[in-house]
Symmetry: C2
Amino acid sequence: MSQTRDVTADQGTPPFLRLFARYLRDQGLPVTQQREAVAEVLFASDEHLSVDDIERALRGRGERIGKATIYRTLDLLVRSRLVAEHDFGEGFKRYEHRLSARPVHEHMICVECGTVTEFESNELYRIENRVKNEHGFLPVRRNLEIYGLCKACQEAGVELTTEGLICPIETVR
Amino acid sequence: MSQTRDVTADQGTPPFLRLFARYLRDQGLPVTQQREAVAEVLFASDEHLSVDDIERALRGRGERIGKATIYRTLDLLVRSRLVAEHDFGEGFKRYEHRLSARPVHEHMICVECGTVTEFESNELYRIENRVKNEHGFLPVRRNLEIYGLCKACQEAGVELTTEGLICPIETVR
DNA sequence: GTCCATGCAAACCTTTTGCACTATA
DNA sequence: TATAGTGCAAAAGGTTTGCATGGAC
């Protein structure tokens, strides 16, 4: 069949699996079915997946892998830098592979519908440089989330209610 | 004694307590001893306090307030916008009052010693404007943390080991 | 054959909740 | 006095760990 994947040599193994296997070998760790399966689920999706999402996707593929193994594999994927871990304040973490056209990006999260959109920001490099020069701080990893109302929710007429004090931020004490 | 606080009229009540009390009254909620005590601890400190920190500080003042009450009061303080909630990835939240000379600021966190330093960034406003114009997203709240090595740790000779893949970020799939 | 991974269940930790009792307004 | 808060302990929910078994190399 013309749609059959070419399995000659390494060609049948997708790049992300080769990279993950390389990482595991470098660390002297075995490449297991479960580890490959978790990686496959992550790299097959462009969403920000929770552990439950991953477990569900695995089950949908007929694989029954324990949560503990998923957590342990995610730890390896994050260490390998093939996967990024995020916390959008939902009480649990989400995971996203980093082999996209936009390996470095930030997130805006709609506080109404929860939709996560990615965007790039070179202003961040400027901020990091300033931090380096002005404070002698050596940046390694950053984390920028912007919470607000997405276009769709605004157009649907959603408005945000502010119940906080209107102007408590006077610089007094 | 000349150092004794002036207790005439409202003058003895510090501004933050007046603001918190105003918020509570606005919401039709009672002003209780416990709520005032939690607020006092937060406003007396310029650190980023965990719930345990707060409980300990209260105990040090001879007040024994249940964790549940602390959590419930923190919720009110955050809603009132007098206090900001942070998650530095430690597995628990930290809280910081917002009546400082720098009510809006970001954080850099040293991955070695855990020290948190604050800095301001007007580049962030530029980012938010871009997000608004380019994506129609209405920003409400932002969250920027920069993780890295603080000056002191660098000077102490600390180096960070990278165990991840050196260059996995090729834009291939 | 050795070493490590897996799976299950129990443990862990922070945060939330239910309920009898107490304090605020 | 009505209404809401407090404190305790239990529950909840995500994540980690111990241990016996099974798989990778």
